[in-house]
């Protein structure tokens, strides 16, 4: 009754509107409201979609277009079409183009290696941190806050900070390892071709493990406590409980987090560019494409590399969505 009062007041002030609504049969009135809402929904969506088309759709189409041209960064408005030559061309007894460039394949391999190793390490470390934070102890808030610090630090800054810690002469890591007797002489982490990729992975793991830990922790906290009580009553070993109960239950959430990280790692740029600049040993696909585009001013060739990178990521995303849809019964 209390709820009805404002409606009565509005009926007094706006009687015409209300009587119109009354004269329409309920089903049709509902229909009208629904149509109005549908119309409004699209009106709300269209500006957002137009902006996305302008900042993402159009530039992507232009990049693909440029990949078939010989455009240059210094003057992007004059170019001619050269077909697939940026991708692959046979000329004078040799193959040219992105797909025939060993540096590109090196970059592809580097990116894949980086992605698999760093996401793998982040998942495991993130899981360990999440399981720890899921326990009840004093100072838990403090530790959780501390894990957010690497996440908040800009990638560039963390790359520089680690660059300093990994410095070959004055770096604290070399000092520590030598004090502990692990290594005999200082290592040149960022310049040594065997080590530089590991240095990059180290920085990335440090920076993004908190993200994995927090997502995993959120999944852990949604778990029902009754199956744990049951396991405790039955006296099952905690390790067994983890692999038999916890892991299967958080698996879907963990998979989503891993997919996010994999897609993110495949386009890695900042950390590699800052830590090891354009070194062949660590160059990722994004670094390769940008080097061609900006430093070598070859927009056509760089766009071809970017397009291939885009296709690889798109293919992975689509196959994941397709598999996910199949697995979760069409409700993805």
């Amino acid at each position: 009754m209390v709820m009805a009062e404002p409606t009565v007041t509005s009926a007094n002030t706006d009687a015409g509107e209300l009587s119109l609504a009354r004269s329409v049969p309920p089903a049709r009135r509902h229909n009208r409201v629904h149509r109005q809402r549908l119309f409004a929904a699209w009106m709300f969506l269209i500006p957002m979609l137009v902006v996305l088309a302008a900042v993402a759709g159009w530039p992507l189409m232009r990049t693909i277009w440029f990949s078939f041209t010989d455009a240059s960064f210094s003057d992007i408005s004059t170019y001619s079409m050269i077909g697939f030559e940026n991708y692959l061309v046979y000329d004078n007894g040799a193959w040219y183009g992105v797909l025939a460039d060993p540096s590109w394949w090196r970059a592809v391999w580097n990116t894949l290696f980086f992605t698999v190793v760093s996401v793998g390490a982040e998942t495991v470390l993130g899981l360990i941190i999440a399981l720890t934070l899921n326990a009840q102890f004093r100072g838990r808030g403090l530790i959780r806050a501390a894990t957010l610090i690497p996440w908040a630090i800009p990638t560039i800054v963390s790359a520089k900070m680690w660059g300093w810690m990994l410095h070959d002469q004055f770096g604290i890591i070399n000092d520590l390892l030598m004090t502990l007797g692990v290594i005999a002489e200082p290592l040149n982490w960022t310049a040594n071709s065997d080590l530089s990729m590991w240095a990059v992975i180290m920085v990335d793991v440090w920076k993004t493990t908190p993200f994995m830990a927090l997502l995993t922790l959120a999944a852990l906290q949604m778990l029902p406590s009754d199956c744990y009580e049951a396991a405790k009553v039955d006296g099952i070993h905690p390790v067994r409980v983890f692999f038999r109960v916890t892991l299967p239950l958080i698996y879907p959430a963990l998979m989503v987090a891993i997919i996010f990280r994999v897609l993110d790692a495949l386009r890695v740029f900042d950390v590699i560019y800052v830590l090891t600049s354009n070194s062949e040993d660590t160059m990722s696909m994004s670094v390769y494409a940008r080097q061609q585009l900006v430093e070598f001013q070859d927009v056509g060739y760089g766009s071809a590399a970017s397009t291939v990178l885009f296709l690889i990521i798109a293919l992975l995303t689509i196959s994941y969505l397709y598999l996910g849809r199949k697995q979760f019964g069409g409700d993805a």
Binding site: R37, A56, A71, P154, I156, M161, L309, I313
Partner: protein, 280 residues
């Protein structure tokens, strides 16, 4: 009895060590940057684990450099504007996606998610052409425009999740009262979305603040740079002459506000991050 006690102590110590290791792992690099930033001259080349000197020379040098200060302003301007644009278009879109059932909603959500997964380098040459055409090259405005590519999908995605969590009754009451969708959004939902908007805005702000690739490519002169590019381009004569003291001071200057924000809003941030990903 004694063995059980011993076992309990061992477990407690192990757990304590694990906590200490986590703490060290997450905090140490930042702590070490602070330690280094207070050193000057040859002090830099002795390795210390504690703060041994308190010298503000590096900070004075960095903040006395007008191009670094202007890069801070550029970063603030660019990140704030990019977030404001994302909020403007994101809120209405999130209402439509979160509260209205219509055909094609799944497709729109997939487009939004797809754009946020985009490799940025894939739009680099296309964006460069657009920016060139609008005469925005070497202008922070070019970054406001290009950052929308990640702030907008993110904002839409997270706000949609938050919108869905609001009770249905609110909206039904508004419909019964004859409120139009626009009124429902602005009078009913937006007032309730304050915390969600703060969270989303903060996360989008951090993403924009940290962006590097576009900022590196679309700006040219020192006074138009944003903070990450300014820091990345601090150089000395050669690799061994990098002014590490200045670098660490600059790093601390741009990171401390973020860390403080994150620590203040940590609960919000965690809920925002999980809304963005787990519900995906």
């Amino acid at each position: 009895m004694n063995r059980r006690l011993l076992k309990k102590i061992a477990a407690k110590t192990g757990f304590g060590l694990l906590l200490a290791a986590i703490m060290l792992f997450t905090v140490f690099p930042f702590y070490y940057a602070i330690v280094t930033s207070f050193k000057s001259g040859s002090e830099l080349f002795s390795i210390d684990y504690w703060i041994t000197s308190f010298n503000l020379e590096n900070y004075q040098a960095v903040l006395g450099q007008s191009s670094f200060v202007s890069s801070i302003w550029n970063s603030i301007l660019v990140s704030t504007s990019a977030v404001a644009i994302a909020m403007l278009f994101g809120l209405t879109a999130a209402y439509a996606l979160g509260r209205v059932h219509f055909r094609g909603r799944g497709t729109v959500l997939m487009i939004v998610l797809g754009v946020s997964m985009f490799p940025q380098v894939a739009v680099l040459s296309g964006l460069f052409e657009v920016i060139w055409a609008f005469d925005l090259y070497n202008d922070p405005l070019s970054l406001v425009f290009s950052y929308t590519i990640f702030t907008l999908p993110f904002t839409v995605w997270v706000l949609t999740t938050f919108m869905r969590q609001l009770p249905k009754e609110l909206e039904e009451a508004a419909i019964v009262d004859g409120a139009s969708p626009v009124v429902t959004l602005f009078k009913v939902f937006i007032p309730l979305m304050g915390p969600a908007m703060a969270t989303t805005g903060l996360l989008a702000f951090i993403a924009a603040w940290n962006e590097f690739l576009f900022a590196l490519t679309f700006t040219l002169t020192d006074d138009q740079r944003t903070v990450p590019v300014a820091i990345a381009l601090i150089t000395g004569g050669s690799q061994h002459e990098l002014p590490w003291g200045h670098l660490m001071a600059a790093s601390v200057v741009v990171t401390v506000p973020l860390v403080v924000l994150v620590l203040i809003f940590q609960r919000r941030i965690v809920s925002g991050l999980t809304a963005g990903a787990v519900k995906g």
